[in-house]
């Protein structure tokens, strides 16, 4: 009737075999080996009969997960203290009469752990039953559905129907906790992760538990609101849909989202983020773990930087305010530049932006310094803002370090730009990245009308674009592949998550096209052999140097007869070769957006 050819995993591309489990989630967690400092003492721990070595003091829960024996937990979070309140992670340890909470237990030598004995499995079921006893039946309307830890653990470890009569304790359903958060007290499973985030990450203890037993609720301290600048991290760590972001509430279902790794452009810290987008529209940014930059967190302001990608963009090239084709726009810009250069090279200026990627800046520096020999260069960016000692930098530009390094000391400030224009030292100005060029002083500070020609490569339509003679649309941070350099000097990769808006192109590509029109092509020599194999989920992008990468990377379609043009990676490789600050930078692997549907749960 039927033949079971092989039941062993490992056949035909299936994921590697897990440890032998009695029951539990069928898809084993991937093996994670942390980086350990040399000289660390190791202990031997036997997990489910398999002895392994771990650094002394490793958390037992982490150890079990690394070994492939999944142990569920709610209140444990790698970046927070571990109170062992949820009791979901209990495992049996030989020699201990009672099961131990593995999130609270460090490994000791010759420890023998059983993660799936009948008693342990029973305890897991019971704990889940307790947790679900008063949980409201909100899945259809709950934001967390699809990425909910409670759903996952129930399905993997419990999967039994209810034994109670279904009458549940009623609590407040839509509590406006603060600036960004809505609380549903019924959904809360009392894990206290959010309280610890406020205590330990934001250092402002606004949240607390009140009442007892069945009626225990999460609430703010008397007279306080949840308005610290890291409040949205509580939404990330909440295992259920109790805490929801007002911005994201009911916006999009989790399984429709695709996740692309990137870097937050909000300030010079460069927190690692994931851009969650669906059908070309970004819906939220969430932090990505990076132990050296931002650990597991990011600030609230940074989360909203995604909004600028979709609103008020410049989408078509404009010449004298009239939308034109790229051909015409580039021709006009080149003509203006050529006129200015022919008259007096010393009166042509260029403005670099600290918001641009290293690739954009490098291409621009090659055009303006090497090819055109300009002497007047300035650095623009957003003004300084508030800062704290947790994550937020005062410098609100993601790539100041890169701009300064690539500029090589030749970049002057906006004040100098203003003076130079007033004193008539500039006739033609090329601005690449209009963010903050006008600065806080407003249009009055920059007497643009004294310029004969203003060419702007812009992300957004603002006053500078209105005043420009030629405006060319640039693709924003979420639409390009590139790198930013943060305040630590770390060069970090951003990936394109959505296609460029309208007709916009990456900045380096526009610069390259302009350079062609000026008669001095920028030949990027960034070849380093074939692309490394694509990592993770995707089957790999086209593995040829010069092929398109990611959803936005496309070779220039305007240059006929050139065949495959350069890509952002080509520019990066040349910059890496030429710029000392980038010598340790890594382009990383081509990462195709991962659908959250296949990513189980976050947080």
């Amino acid at each position: 009737m039927s033949e079971l050819l092989t039941k062993t995993p490992g056949a035909v591309g299936a994921p590697p075999a897990p440890l032998k489990l009695v029951t539990g989630p069928p898809v084993p967690a991937p093996e994670r080996r942390p980086v350990v400092a040399p000289g660390t003492e190791f202990v031997t721990v036997t997990i489910d009969g398999h002895p392994r070595q771990f650094p002394k003091g490793t958390n037992l829960l982490e150890a079990c997960n690394q070994a492939g024996a999944e142990v569920p937990s709610f209140c444990y979070h790698a970046g927070l203290s571990s109170p062992a309140v949820c009791r979901q992670c209990l495992v049996d340890v030989k020699g201990q009469p009672k099961p131990v909470p593995s999130c609270y237990t460090p490994v000791t030598d010759k420890m023998e752990v059983i993660t799936a004995s009948p008693r342990v499995l029973d305890i897991r079921r019971q704990m889940l039953e307790f947790t679900l006893l008063n949980h409201p039946i909100d899945c259809p309307i709950c934001d967390k559905a699809g990425e909910c830890t409670l759903q996952k653990h129930y399905f993997d470890w419990d999967a039994k129907y209810a034994r109670n009569d279904g009458v549940k304790v009623e609590k407040a359903k839509r509590v406006d906790l603060g600036r960004h958060i809505v609380l549903d007290q019924e959904r809360c499973i009392l894990c206290t992760r959010c309280i610890r985030v406020c205590d330990e990450v934001a250092h402002q203890s606004e949240l607390t538990m009140a009442m007892r037993g069945d009626h225990e609720i999460l609430t703010t301290a008397p007279g306080r609101r949840l308005d610290n600048p890291y409040s949205l991290n509580t939404v990330d760590v909440c295992p259920v849909g109790a805490l929801t972001s007002k911005d994201f509430r009911f916006a999009m279902r989790a399984w429709e989202l695709e996740s692309t790794p990137s870097i937050c452009p909000g300030c010079a810290t460069g927190c690692n983020v994931e851009i969650h987008s669906s059908r070309g529209e970004i819906h939220r940014l969430v932090p990505r773990e990076n132990p050296t930059v931002n650990k597991h967190w990011m600030c609230d302001e940074g989360r909203f930087t995604y909004k600028r990608v979709h609103g008020g963009r410049l989408v078509v090239p404009e010449s004298s305010g009239i939308p034109v084709e790229w051909d015409r726009g580039l021709a006009d810009a080149a003509r203006l530049l050529r006129d200015g250069l022919d008259r007096d090279v010393a009166r042509v200026g260029v403005v670099f932006s600290a918001q641009s990627t290293n690739e954009d800046l490098y291409a621009l520096s090659r055009l303006t310094f090497e090819n055109l020999g300009l002497t007047r260069a300035y650095l623009a960016g957003l003004d300084q803002g508030w800062a704290d000692d947790i994550l937020v930098s005062a410098d609100k530009n993601p790539n100041t370090a890169g701009a300064l390094a690539i500029g090589g000391g030749r970049l002057k400030s906006l004040l100098d730009l203003s003076n130079d224009i007033k004193q008539g030292h500039l006739t033609t100005l090329l601005v690449v990245g209009e963010e903050g060029v006008l600065g806080s002083a407003g249009a009055a500070a920059l007497p643009i009308d004294r310029l004969e020609a203003l060419i702007v490569l812009a992300w957004r339509r603002d006053a500078l674009v209105e005043a420009a003679r030629v405006a060319l649309p640039m693709a924003d941070f979420a639409e390009v592949d590139g790198t930013f350099t943060n305040r630590q000097g770390r060069v970090q990769r951003i990936s394109a998550a959505v296609p460029p808006a309208g007709d916009s192109l990456p900045g380096w590509e526009i610069v390259s096209l302009l350079s062609d029109r000026l008669g001095i092509p920028l030949e990027f020599s960034g070849t380093a052999g074939p692309l490394p194999a694509a990592g993770g989920a995707g089957p790999g992008g086209p593995a040829t140097a010069g092929g398109a990468e990611g959803p936005a990377g496309r070779s220039s379609t305007l240059e006929t007869g050139r065949g495959r043009g350069p890509t952002a990676r080509t520019v990066f490789l040349e910059a890496k070769h030429k710029m000392p600050f980038m010598k340790d930078a890594d382009w990383g692997r081509t990462s195709l957006p991962v659908q959250l549907r296949f990513a189980h749960t976050r947080g």
Binding site: M1, V12, F598
Partner: protein, 427 residues
């Protein structure tokens, strides 16, 4: 000019001239000299859109006069990427795709697929008995509709329009009853992993027995119209002969294979579901020509009705789907009133049923032969690979071998009796 005319079998009257042991018939006037014209080979295109071709298939024929010298059979016009779609759908979402494989016997496809997944899940012994009986019943009903369609359409193409309408009339009774069971005449999606989606409706047994009785009458009537019909016999006898060795070598199963003398029926030889509890015979032919294939199908319909009567008698009461929250959807009353059932409902639909990693080839007796499903699972709720072994793919592959030497007119009954279902062959 004096011509000598030999009498054709038609003019001679009576039964077709058959030499002892040989059933080859020669038709046509044989006149020497003038009509021995040299012929040029002519490429002739038949299909993909052709009134006498079942489904969409293209045959590029090389003919000399009326005689075919070579056949280039081009299938794939109905390829709809079943296997690729299956990689993105959960195991339950694949059921509607299986409906559309052999679309004249959809329940049999559902059954074949469900059995494969259940074996991977290791629950094949735990499917409730009532569900197994139901699967046999609806499966055999689908088999009867498959044969009725094949024979009705085949007869119509030879000019017997009445037979077509009679067979379809009987087929409609079955379709109406299947519509009562599943909600649709053709695209049932009735089965689920672990059982069937809903129980049989009230009065089903009585209705089905009535239909069986009436269908027997219809088949008998059609038999009276066709079995000794001169035109029918002349066009079907001795045409498109497949030998038993060829059948085995080319992997031809089902009524086509059995008509050659190759005695293989998955229901009897590798019993699945509850087929081992029924008494039924397997129709095996001897010559392997079109008429044998026709008779095999007629007899198979009778045997299917026999199985149905026994199944209706033996079917027990009980649940119709396995009671595991990880596999079946909970009842709506529970889903709306308990969080556990709500989560189970959510995860079973969104994540799919988690099938442990492994691979399996599971085969059943489809309408046209051995229908196989080869599934590779990776532990998630969606298969890694879901390959269908379509029986008519192998059946049809022999056409370029048996058609050359026949007349163009012989393609029609031969192709009809091979019964290529485009949905199954091309997937």
């Amino acid at each position: 000019m004096k011509t000598e005319k030999t009498l054709t079998p038609l003019e001679r009257g009576g039964a077709s001239s058959q030499a002892e042991g040989s059933r080859r018939i020669v038709l046509g006037v044989q006149e020497p000299d003038d009509l021995d014209l040299p012929t040029d080979p002519l490429p002739l295109n038949m299909g993909p859109s052709h009134p006498a071709m079942h489904g969409t298939v293209r045959m590029v024929l090389d003919v000399e006069g009326e005689k075919i010298t070579s056949v280039d059979l081009q299938i794939g016009y109905l390829h709809r990427c079943f296997e690729k779609e299956a990689e993105h759908a959960t195991y339950t979402q694949i059921f509607p795709y299986t409906d559309r494989l052999n679309y004249v016997s959809p329940m049999l496809n559902n059954v074949g697929y469900a059995l494969a997944v259940e074996k991977l899940l290791d629950i094949d012994k735990k499917v409730p008995e009532r569900a197994q009986f139901i699967r046999v019943i609806v499966g055999e009903m689908s088999r009867i509709t498959d044969h009725m369609t094949c024979l009705g359409a085949g007869a119509m193409e030879l000019g017997a329009f009445t037979v077509f309408l009679y067979m379809l009339k009987a087929r409609e009774w079955l379709y109406e009853l299947l519509e009562e069971v599943s909600g649709a005449r053709l695209t049932h999606s009735y089965l689920r992993i672990g059982g069937v989606s809903a129980d049989l409706p009230e009065g089903f047994s009585a209705k089905l027995l009535d239909i069986i009785a009436r269908s027997r009458g219809v088949i008998e009537e059609c038999g009276k119209l066709l079995n000794k019909n001169r035109i029918f016999r002349d066009r079907m006898d001795g045409i498109g002969i497949i030998t038993r060795e060829e059948a085995i070598a080319w992997g031809i199963t089902g009524p086509v294979g059995r008509s050659t003398g190759f005695d293989y029926d998955v229901r009897r030889d590798h019993p699945y579901l509850v087929y081992d509890r029924f008494n039924f015979d397997v129709a095996v032919g001897s010559v392997g020509d079109n008429f044998d294939r026709y008779m095999c199908r007629i007899e198979e319909m009778h045997q299917s009705m026999r199985i149905l009567e026994q199944a209706l008698e033996q079917i027990p009461d009980g649940p119709v789907i396995i009671n595991d929250p990880r596999i079946r959807l909970p009842a709506k009353s529970e889903t709306y009133n308990s969080i556990e059932a709500m989560i189970a409902h959510f995860k079973v639909i969104m994540d799919g049923i988690h099938v442990p990693p492994g691979e399996i080839y599971s085969f059943t007796e489809g309408g046209n032969g051995e229908l196989g499903f080869y599934i590779v699972s990776d532990g998630s709720g969606r298969p890694w690979k879901c390959r269908v072994r379509p029986p008519c793919f192998a059946n049809v592959s022999i056409l370029p071998k048996i058609l050359p030497g026949l007349f163009i007119a012989d393609i029609v009954p031969t192709f009809g009796m091979i019964n290529m279902i485009g949905g199954e062959c091309d997937r």
